[in-house]
Symmetry: C2
Subunit: 522 residues, 2 copies
Amino acid sequence: MKNLASYVFGEWVEGKGGPATRGNPTTEEPLAQASTEGVDMKKALDFARDVGGPALRAMSFRERGGLLRKLSRTIYTARDELMTLGVQNAGNTRSDAKFDVDGASATLAAYADIAENELGDAKFLVDADPINIGRSSKLTGQHLFLPLEGVAVHINAFNFPAWGLAEKAAVALLAGMPVISKPATSTALMAFRLMQLIVEQEILPKGALSFLAGSTGDLLSHLRGQDVLAFTGSSDTAAQLRALPNVVRDSVRVNVEADSLNAAILGPDASSGETYDLFVKDVVRDITQKAGQKCTAIRRVFVPKDRVGDLRDLLVERLRATKIGDPSREEVNMGPVATKKQRDDALTGIDRLVRTGAKAVTGGKAPAQTIGVEAGKGFFVDATLLEVESPDAVADVHAIEVFGPCTTLVPYDSSAALVRAVRRGDGGLVASLYSDDKSFTREVVLGIASSHGRLVLGSEKAAASAVPPGTVLPSLVHGGPGRAGGGEELGGTRGMRLYLQRTAIQGYGPVVAALVAEGKKV
Amino acid sequence: MKNLASYVFGEWVEGKGGPATRGNPTTEEPLAQASTEGVDMKKALDFARDVGGPALRAMSFRERGGLLRKLSRTIYTARDELMTLGVQNAGNTRSDAKFDVDGASATLAAYADIAENELGDAKFLVDADPINIGRSSKLTGQHLFLPLEGVAVHINAFNFPAWGLAEKAAVALLAGMPVISKPATSTALMAFRLMQLIVEQEILPKGALSFLAGSTGDLLSHLRGQDVLAFTGSSDTAAQLRALPNVVRDSVRVNVEADSLNAAILGPDASSGETYDLFVKDVVRDITQKAGQKCTAIRRVFVPKDRVGDLRDLLVERLRATKIGDPSREEVNMGPVATKKQRDDALTGIDRLVRTGAKAVTGGKAPAQTIGVEAGKGFFVDATLLEVESPDAVADVHAIEVFGPCTTLVPYDSSAALVRAVRRGDGGLVASLYSDDKSFTREVVLGIASSHGRLVLGSEKAAASAVPPGTVLPSLVHGGPGRAGGGEELGGTRGMRLYLQRTAIQGYGPVVAALVAEGKKV
């Protein structure tokens, strides 16, 4: 069995002691093992801070962008190999794995483009124009953004091992901060292979990117005020990280992407036609793609009361046609969820919703048949549609995120009630709205925007070229308030601010101007 | 004795039970008492959320700015009365109190100007230009900023009862969020009177501004994901607030301004002349103004090794000339600190620094004489200058903030050593640099910026019109990383982001454009 090592202080280091095993969720066969026990985490941080940080800060944005371009190409060149690891280790279909791997290279390339086209030869950013201060015209103030002189620690989720590593690293490295990246234990094979390629090809300066295959050990207890912690995963883990004594005491910046009951809303006007078809396509995709394991997947489907019947029938038909089984087979369009625990959690969540009043329209348990899989093996959950009678019928529909192939139909009878119901999710990553009615769209957007990080408007004129809500774009922010973690990633240069300190500089105009002239205004 | 009530759910409410007493720190006489015991905090929050929030969100920026203009005028009109309360209750000289009270009206006026001149009739903000997304030119994305639909809870420090309330409220109200403001218990008289005037004059819509005279009780346990908590005070209290279970779980936004070992740096070139004089004036002011109780006050004075002797003599001369005593007397230029606890903490901090190796050059205990004060009465601390041999001689000089009339001379011998030493403060609100050497200025600014929220450059050409580092300007951000709390206030529209959710909107270009057209681009 393969041993996954960690790459820290410029070396590959294998941990001691009882290693965690990563398996194939389709066959339940073990694939690899790894441990970080005994790895000197303090030394790993110091090396990143003292060697990686200065190297990155000495580079211009263009130069840092050049590194991202190389990383992007490395991933693109190895995409077949990486996708295969996703199929084996994460239960991905080839198309699921492509979404992850190509998303990784595309995001790196997008940030390489930003470096080249927008930021150029500067080493830091400037925030807007000079401001006159005081009573004299001699004094001005202006704001700079300089990289923090610590380490960006990235803790990624199991569902996007390639994209998770790449999107966080792209932003931090471009900002000028060294990264220590930790993939989720269960699906680490792809991220490990990616890191091997990066190290072999000597793409990055020493200390710029480190990698932990396994637990973070005591790493997080060594974080200080110039470090950053970015986490994607469950609210429970996020809460633990946020309350770490040193994180609280030293105001360590923590960015969280967590749970989200993403809504898809069908407008009252869209009962057929392209807008309706787009809506159905997006809902079905989000149930089945990656077996529903996307933080952006639609969990609540809001439908005008009188449209529920037709839609239910259509969704049942589509979901029952899903071919579930061994994701390495071409005819299969949904694999297992990533681990036994994920399967158990998803089924428990579905049970909970059903026990509190939701109706299981289709699915709700392990599938009756799986293609090409030994009977009883694999962590499969059937494509599941639940339904509730009204937005207020089952409170948990707005609170429990079933992280698997499951969504819930929620009828609504007025736009005001709809806005209230969507907001009951208490903060989400994304909501999508399918309507060609401008007044309805306006009311809903202004009503729900402040509880979301992103809203996707599906309409007839753009249906053919629509980008689904589950696709996170590097140019738009990703994150949401409240339950979704309160974080913000990506969004072009916006995401870089997590790694930059904004500093007001005030003084004699020409002196401030001379300093600011070295930076790039954004 | 006066009873201070709380203003919640549109009513003045007096608490039950053992009230805390506010006194005069010069005479130690009690002035007033207050308690929030029995006040229904949940009801206070709900009223602000359900009544104040919708009222503010229905107004344009211009209309909200109109409210701020009225608040500013109310304070300005009552400034004499408010200043007298500062003298009585906070130990302020009239000049100290003026700094607080006029700072309050000026900050409100500055935000009223922003509303009128920059934001106008819109109700929300738009972040930058549309972005093309996807492969078709039909799709665009753009970011909006909408007010969170919760309550902004403001917990202010004892040292700026008027400015603290006003600067936080100005930004939140303009953003469109209702406020519950809690002044520090010890110096609440001025804030209470201010609130009385605001209520009497019926300036604000119901629920827009509430006021707690006393403890927050269980208020903070009711905060949810759309609420905001902004705190100014000690790191210890900040750490408790940040780790509150509901704050952590619901990703409640917390903004903190906490401890800061602000540095003033004399450049090697500035051994005399206007730049040098400005430096000396700023250092002396920050020791004596408000008896050193400014979060922005200079705590560490970095001086080229060979300049320490002359500077020490000059500072000793100035500090010994300080007239300490009853701040209501015109000849007195430094009053007591605000409370017995503050006096004890300041003296304990000085002792600690002296015990670990700092030398008390002058002061260091209660003053030998106080003008117009009964012997043994009043919470006085002498104007104190400490000195260490080198930046590394006494670690606590970079860690212990003596919140009183005290600063420490720290010699340095190279700009690289200087940058390292300044950064040992682990994150500060402001640092000031006095030099006319461009290359030195550049090196130090780029070296220390990422550990500061603001840098003030003092130089010959702007010396006559200089704004001291201790003055927080509404147009520049106030806050700092690490020890300083990691927060950001003010800075024009920048500070409003704490109260706004950034949401990406993506869809068919003209649909997105129509929505965005209602907002004001910043």
